[in-house]
Symmetry: C2
Subunit: 652 residues, 2 copies
């Protein structure tokens, strides 16, 4: 079944010479296969009402399909990509795709034996898209009714058509479910479409550098790119096959698109305002700056391998795709409700073609449906291209997310994440009951979890859902999951910590607690945790409000500034106390909103919040149930809170 075949040198290099195709982490020499998914008699019906047949689809596969047929990773390619994802094309010379003799497939850095998408584990499939020009039926294919190329008689195609086409290919291959669908850019939109249109067939959906729809600016750039093709006198309303193609128009379109693939910072670093060496500056309107030369090269090389009509069709498909419109009547939240796969959404902070904001909206739409979500905004200077260039980070994310366990009790939830199936929260204890509750959990310092971690783990009932705000590297979430089978979701602003979460299989929303919580719906978690985080926030009151909007109960821990040692230190030294729960100097402390247990009690009373129970660290390693005197005695405090009616209650 594998197209890679790891066959020996097929004439691409002199016999005996080493070739990168022979590297142990390369899939080797590849040969594409072709399958017919529709015929003239049974044509392919497009979403917009057209039909086309026959439809032949060229595809490549790498690795071996497992006996259970459960190790399939479908890769969806982007605008100018193709099915040749990895390895070296054994047929490049024969098929006239000479540019493939110079380099391996477009994602060779990521796909191969031992690489992030490990072809020793996964059976990788990628197919050329309908309407393209790289090996699937498209405008340059012969129209069976005329015998001439379709040109603009080819029906409009959509992202939905490509998913349908890929599904048909998988049917041919006898593949029912996907371990994962993965795509970047326009390929990322296909991954989104897979998750929404075929939730039954997708276990994991990985979207890179894409958004659920193209921005207005993106529409505008596409329009201008198409116009430069259509304005080219060689375009001839698309009927240019057999004569000179509209190369200058297509080149200009590609040049323009290339600007949108890079960030200004990246361009500045790469080219600056340097003039080419071999030009006379000030001589006219030719190529003088390096950036002009670079774009010119990009345009020239593109026209050698791409068909202008396909460029029109594919960019229009980019324009049209709108997941919210298609699946939610305009509501992305509604559309996201269809998704049942795990989703990892990865944006790149300098990408302005598919900006992080759009990906974040997608992640939030999933969160609004109570679905776990992993969203990472990777810092990069490479703009949209980053999904192809930031190989190290992307590989790490792919490897971790692909290998996460699927079934069983995991941090992703024991069962499909639906509110009605989540375990009911424990009944509210009466004030009297609190006093009788079991002793505080024994605190064992294991050098791994803070004392609060243990308390929190004991506090969370079996199977309850937990949102951890400021979740750090995900250790607590992992521990809760391991011991309680709870559904966990983290929010973390630090990228390194967020990447660690992905490695721990903890769903993490990489973003700011103070701006990123709007996506989580009211009462969508049993517990929301703010562990040693509140005092580091700019607007702690807003975080507390969000905590109790999202969660049925909140768990908050913080250093207590009224602790007698703190006050004593302040009085005797006349300096801001340093030590214990407050280990930082005044000018470098992340603790920017200090407060006391009494302050917190006041806030709770004002805010109709009941303190259900609490624990205090009263000395090194000594944790006890919170007592009324702990405004003075506690160094650190952990409280469990919940909303009450209008009349505030003091339970402690």
């Amino acid at each position: 079944m594998s197209g890679a075949g790891h066959t020996s040198n097929q004439g691409q290099a002199p016999a005996g010479a080493w070739h990168p195709a022979n590297a142990p982490d390369c899939v080797g020499w590849t040969s594409a296969k072709t399958v017919r998914i529709a015929t003239a008699a049974r044509p392919f019906r497009t979403e917009l009402g057209g039909s086309v047949g026959p439809v032949d689809v060229e595809y490549e596969t790498y690795g071996e399909l497992s006996a259970a047929r459960d190790n399939v990773v479908l890769i969806a390619h982007a605008l100018s990509g193709d099915a040749h994802v990895a390895g070296w094309d054994a047929d490049a010379k024969r098929t006239g795709r000479l540019w493939r003799m110079k380099k391996p497939g477009w994602w060779d850095a990521v796909v191969g034996p031992g690489k992030a998408i490990d072809t020793r584990k996964y059976f990788v499939v990628c197919a050329n898209v309908l309407g393209g020009c790289c090996g699937a039926t498209g405008p340059s294919s012969p129209n069976p009714f005329t015998g001439k190329p379709y040109s603009l008689q080819f029906p409009m195609v959509t992202v939905g058509d490509w998913v349908k086409q890929q599904a048909a290919l998988l049917d041919e291959l006898g593949i029912e479910r996907l371990h994962a669908v993965v795509g970047g850019s326009l390929g990322g939109q296909q991954a989104i479409e897979w998750a929404m249109s075929r939730p039954d067939r997708v276990d994991r959906c990985i979207v890179l550098a894409a958004t659920p729809r193209l921005s207005t600016q993106g529409l505008a750039f596409n329009a201008i790119g198409r116009r430069s093709i259509i304005n080219d006198p060689d375009f001839k309303n698309g009927e240019y096959y057999g004569s000179a193609p509209p190369s200058s128009g297509l080149a200009a379109a590609r040049m323009l698109a290339h600007i949108t693939y890079l960030s200004e910072a990246g361009m500045r670093e790469k080219f600056g305002r340097r003039a080419k060496d071999d030009v006379c500056p000030g001589c006219g309107f030719g190529i003088e700056f390096e950036v002009e030369s670079y774009l010119d090269r990009q345009g020239r090389s593109f026209v050698e391998r791409f068909d202008a009509n396909s460029y029109l069709y594919i960019t229009r498909a980019m324009d049209y795709y709108d997941a919210a419109e298609k699946w939610g009547g305009g509501s992305l939240e509604e559309a996201a409700s269809r998704v049942s796969s795990r989703v990892m959404a990865v944006s790149f902070d300098s990408d302005w073609l598919y900006p992080p904001e759009g990906m974040k909206e997608f992640a939030q739409a999933l969160a609004r449906n109570g679905k776990p979500v992993t969203y990472i905004n990777v810092p990069s200077r490479y703009g949209h291209d980053a999904f192809l260039v930031e190989t190290e980070t992307v590989s790490r994310l792919l490897r971790d997310f692909l290998s996460a366990e699927n079934g069983g009790a995991s941090i992703w939830g024991v069962r499909p994440v639906r509110r009605e199936t989540a375990p009911a929260p424990q009944p509210q204890p009466s004030p009297a009951a609190v006093a009788r509750e079991d002793d505080p959990p024994a605190f064992t310092s294991n050098g791994f979890l803070r004392w609060q971690d243990k308390v929190i783990i004991d506090e969370i009932p079996e199977g309850a859902s937990v949102l951890d705000l400021g979740c750090g590297d995900g250790k607590l979430l992992s521990a809760i999951s391991a011991s309680k089978g709870a559904r966990g979701q983290g929010v973390e602003i630090d990228i390194r910590a967020a990447l660690d979460c992905v490695g721990r299989n903890a769903p993490v929303f990489h973003g700011d607690i103070e701006n990123g919580l709007a996506g989580f719906p009211d009462d969508s978690f049993d517990y929301v945790v703010l562990e040693e985080t509140l005092q580091t926030l700019r607007r702690p009151d807003e975080a507390l409000r969000q905590m109790l909007r999202i969660g049925r109960r909140g768990i908050v821990s913080f250093p207590n500034f009224a602790n007698y040692r703190v006050v004593h230190d302040l009085m005797t030294s006349g300096r801001m106390p340093v030590g214990g729960a407050l280990p930082y100097q005044w000018h470098e402390t992340p603790n920017i909103h200090l407060f006391t247990l009494n302050d917190f009690r006041d806030w709770a009373a004002r805010s109709n919040v009941r303190i259900v129970k609490g624990y205090a660290l009263v000395a090194d390693g000594v944790v006890r149930k919170l007592s009324p005197s702990d405004n003075m005695y506690a160094e650190e405090i952990l409280v469990v809170v919940e909303k009450t009616g209008p009349a505030p209650e003091y339970l402690i």
Copy 2:
């Protein structure tokens, strides 16, 4: 001399009908004039070595030239602008500029009687640029050697050529000095060039939405715009005069440029992804989305009034301009050393064609030369177009900055700002001298200045230079200037406060203390003030370091957290103290790094900083010299500090 003339209706509207030209704040009906600034015998020599003659320049003027000829405001127009800045063109029909019958000049909102550039006060001049097509000699003008239009035989032009051309026009008009030169976008680059190339002739330089050079991305967009013109088969190597011009290429170039004039947020708000009403969606590659239709209209209307060859020349001049390269051998700091005018640099935060970062670099380059600078980054959703659209803010800035007094003792400095002419700082007092120094200044509450303000004003010697970090609305700077004739410079992050500073004639750098101080050179101010600001910063230690890098002395005031009332409150209430110098609740306080006098003393000792003197607010309205016991007694503290050698000293 005025071209406006406020003449009556000249046939543009039915006799007796009201016309906007008759509005009292409109300059009325305008007629351009033309002056010949070069002849075939004495041609205009261009910077890049070409020559052209004759050169005729069409220009407009509004208002009256004062007898002293000291009220001239020169406006420099942008790429697609022209000399018709304000009012209604009386000659539109006669000259065939029919589009001018529908609307007034391009900056009519800002220029007129009583408007920001008030034609009752100022004599306003604007000239069309050489190489353009709106009334100055350019590629469509006849080449005297051939009798045919120059086309691409026209020499390359530069921003420097335009300034030379404008200077020649001013010579013709008998104008020696400019009250101000004002320009936005490419016009802003002309304003920069004026300030650097003719510092002797410019009193004020106002730069809007421009940078000292175009970004790499800007170069790339220009290259693609020109390519679409050159690729147009009607272009014929520029020899299209007398036949159909390359309209589709020029329209495409304009469409592309228009994307760069808007922000994505602005585009989304205006057009979203809405489809036009009258199209069938999914039908092909025509205009389907509103944004496509908008750009199409922009392209169509532009080709009616603009010449494609001029577009090539002017965009290349945009590409070439690099103030740092031209005037500083690559160093913007060196180039900025030439500037002697006051500068107001205004960027717009969503402008990505001339991004704020570039304008900030320009402002910092001025600051690095010890020059006062006003830099404002206006929040706007309108992208680059904001300089034309944010009329209210731009008008306020223009009005305030233009009307600022020029000579005499002002906040801008009594004399040209050069370090060697600034008064030497007072001799360092010996420890004993400190104790004998005059009594603390009497504190008079005037409802206007804080107690520290009075102390600071008394502390600053006559004529000393002062940098006020977190200067707020500029009241303290104004007061220092009024009483001490000191050179003042503020830094303020809040836009409303920064605008107030401009209104008070206080140079203000609108930006972040924690990231924006790199532009100020070592030892460039006598005093740097951090008044009640340190405790609100994320990184107070870094601000202190910057303070003593930039200033010879620092003045710092802060609330003292060791004050006995504060500690007493904390002890008795068990809550964070609220009141006095610390009036905020724990969760909403801007004071995020609390500290005590002792903490500050420790920091000073560690940092080789000497506390020269200090004052304490010990009770409501009672200020006294700082005494050793004030770690306990002072509510608020003000200290004057300076760097010492390696051995720290305690003076108090």
